[in-house]
Symmetry: C4
Subunit: 249 residues, 4 copies
């Protein structure tokens, strides 16, 4: 059991945690998702990552791995209930090479604060461009992406613990937090954004990318897809002089 994330080493005995014939097992699903995301341009150059929680076990892609080439044996596993000191993470299974991802405390925030089952972090250029376009606006407009009256908005749940999805006329709001030099230092402002925007399933990070989560792996993935669709659409709308918000009722 590794206690120092900088030197986390493989626990031979726990390799059974990442070996399964089931294609839906987190250790098989994370590489499959990461490969798909690489081809979408979301996790270019080892950026981004994906984590899945199965009850108390959290499966994590390591830092610095080529996402389209990931294998189950590259995956870290930790027990959510055993993480008492956020600075001192305990892994029950660690790969022989690689270091833990700096995204880890942010994924954990989605699991503990939002009861998510999966959290996806991308460096999508569309997400980054949206945060750059917002940056020029005065506060507080620069701290939230808003769009309404687009069908794809219906791809999002109304919020944790609420039944059903957003409607066509609803305004989808995704908060934007400022980037920090060390990814782990985003944790506090990510958690604050979660408090301030309890219904959001995602938080944009200025000049960096996005964290998206979901109640299930499928919801995290499809919400990530819908968001990226909306960000790309929003950038194209800006180029064409079309506003993100409209009055249709």
């Amino acid at each position: 059991m590794a206690t120092n994330p900088e030197k986390a080493t493989a626990t031979e005995n726990n390799d059974h945690l990442i070996r399964s014939e089931d294609s839906q097992h987190p250790a098989n699903l994370i590489p499959e998702l990461c490969k798909k995301f690489w081809y979408l341009g979301w996790v270019t150059g080892t950026g981004g990552g994906t984590s899945i929680r199965d009850d108390d076990l959290v499966y994590l892609a390591p830092s610095g791995v080529q996402k389209e080439l990931m294998r189950p044996e590259d995956i870290y596993v930790l027990k959510l209930s055993e993480q008492v000191d956020p600075k001192q993470r305990i892994y029950v299974r660690a790969p022989a090479v690689y270091k833990p991802s700096q995204c880890t405390p942010l994924f954990i925030a989605a699991f503990t604060k939002r009861n998510a089952s999966c959290c996806i972090h991308t460096h999508s250029q569309w997400a980054v461009l949206v945060t750059l376009l917002l940056e020029a606006l005065p506060a507080p407009s620069n701290r939230v992406f808003e769009i309404n009256n687009i069908e794809q908005i219906k791809g999002f749940g109304k919020g944790m613990g609420k039944v059903g999805n957003l409607g066509y006329h609803d305004t989808l709001r995704i908060p934007v937090i400022e980037n920090t030099p060390f990814e782990e230092d985003l944790t506090e402002s990510l958690e604050e954004a979660m408090e301030q925007w309890p219904d959001a399933y995602a938080v944009l990070v200025r000049r960096h990318g996005i964290y998206v989560w979901g109640d299930t792996v499928a919801k995290a993935k499809t919400q990530a897809e819908s968001l990226d669709y909306l960000f790309q659409l929003a950038v194209e709308m800006k180029k064409l002089g079309l506003p993100w918000l409209s009055d249709i009722a």
Copy 2:
């Protein structure tokens, strides 16, 4: 046999309807097409869908499925001749999970009003952007997409029951209907657009996407491809200050 679409359950006995070794069987073709469409960005985040009619049987993708991961066993089947009450659809085969798609009455409209064999619904961003660009125009210009003098226009039939395809100099016209909060509520205006534009093989839905159909599966698919090509071209033309209609004769 399920009568309440919200609770449609699998009819064990009719699973033979979605099991076939033939790659051209609708239950095999729909997943293959949906996967292709996912990679084209047409059915992102479970959006969109595809339905095929084989004589009296209609095969439908369910609601909320990840389109690139669909399997034959996910498919709903209904008999066209047995649908008397549009609010009360009867399924002869239903998957164990999933709900019927809200697109169902729109697909049925294409089959009954246009005698189509296949209907494809996409959320293509190019389709959405075209409807947004049109929205700024005064009525009735904002209710129809028009383009002429582009070779790809020849990819469309002249209309139901007419022989041959559009010519290079013909103007392709695709009506635009306004989106509604519930997809099923589009049915009336879709059917009206079909009446008003009897030769169109597609209807754009503002801020939403498109419905495209065809006399055969291949024609529905290739017309959907040609339309998306033209929408993307039209958006690029707008960025470059080039008009969609020209006087070449």
Copy 3:
């Protein structure tokens, strides 16, 4: 042997012409190339096509086929030496379904007038946009695409019968001909463009696409790729206010 292209039927006995274990056989290569081109967006919606000449035999994709789904048995074969009347083409092998492609006389022009081994026709949107951008210019500037001082220009041969490729400072010139309602009617102006621009390996067709050929299949393909790269670059340069021609020496 079929003499009326509109009713060209399969000649059972000559199916050996399209059956081969060799991946480099034209009947295997054309489907492979067409599939690749479909994914590049060059032959969307059954548009475009590819033809390969092997000595006196010409292999052709049929009209109206989904290019990513083509099979060797879909291919037409004709003997170049037997084509005396351009209006009355003679096929030595024809598929059971499908009609001959309207592109056939244009492919033949590349084989007879330019001694090409392969000719590729695409509906690439970048090619179409370049012809639209040129259209606004006064004649004769509107009839030729010109670009210089881009490394990718070195991907083109100096011209039929000439040794070596264009240099970095050379200006690549691709003539543009006007589109016609019937593709076969392009033949005369394509041949005129070949006469007027003897060194060009391609002809743009306004609002339609491009014909590119090469001394070998590989050269036709890589020249088609290089051209599409340059057209996309040219469109992006236009958006960014960058000129296609510059004075670097």
Copy 4:
């Protein structure tokens, strides 16, 4: 052993150098990488290339090969220690067809001057567009691409022999050299740029593309990916009127 690069012939006896069951062997890795790069649009139309150094042995893709179709047997091998005269390269293994790549001396520069293990050369349109956008600026601004405050910058090492990667607030600087008619003639200015910018892992070539290298194959590849991400982002930022450098601290 071939001494004249223009006539380099296969050395039968040394084919063992390019035959291996190990997927990580350079002769297997170069074709795999090149195929991936072709699909990214980096090595269109036989442009670009990739070279890997394993101790004293250098593996090189040949000139004029279709990069997505490369095979191990297409690869050149030379010994770094045996190259005394840069005009007279000695190959210990050469393919039967093909000529050596004109990129060879540039790859060698990365290996000898920067101790790189892999060097990637692409014709990426985003790289070319960035050099074109810079060209309009007065010297010396036109000779370096600069961007800061974008998370993806952290994908680059601080420089040869330095520990760790760039930080979020650091400015990534990539020098730009002018293109020459013959690629080999870039060698001197590439080496000068390496001297002047000792921490850069890449050099842009105006109107041509980029050379990117890394301490390992994985680092060369992921740095190439991160750079291309930043170039595409920079072009989109320019279209949207967003500056590449900002004052965030």
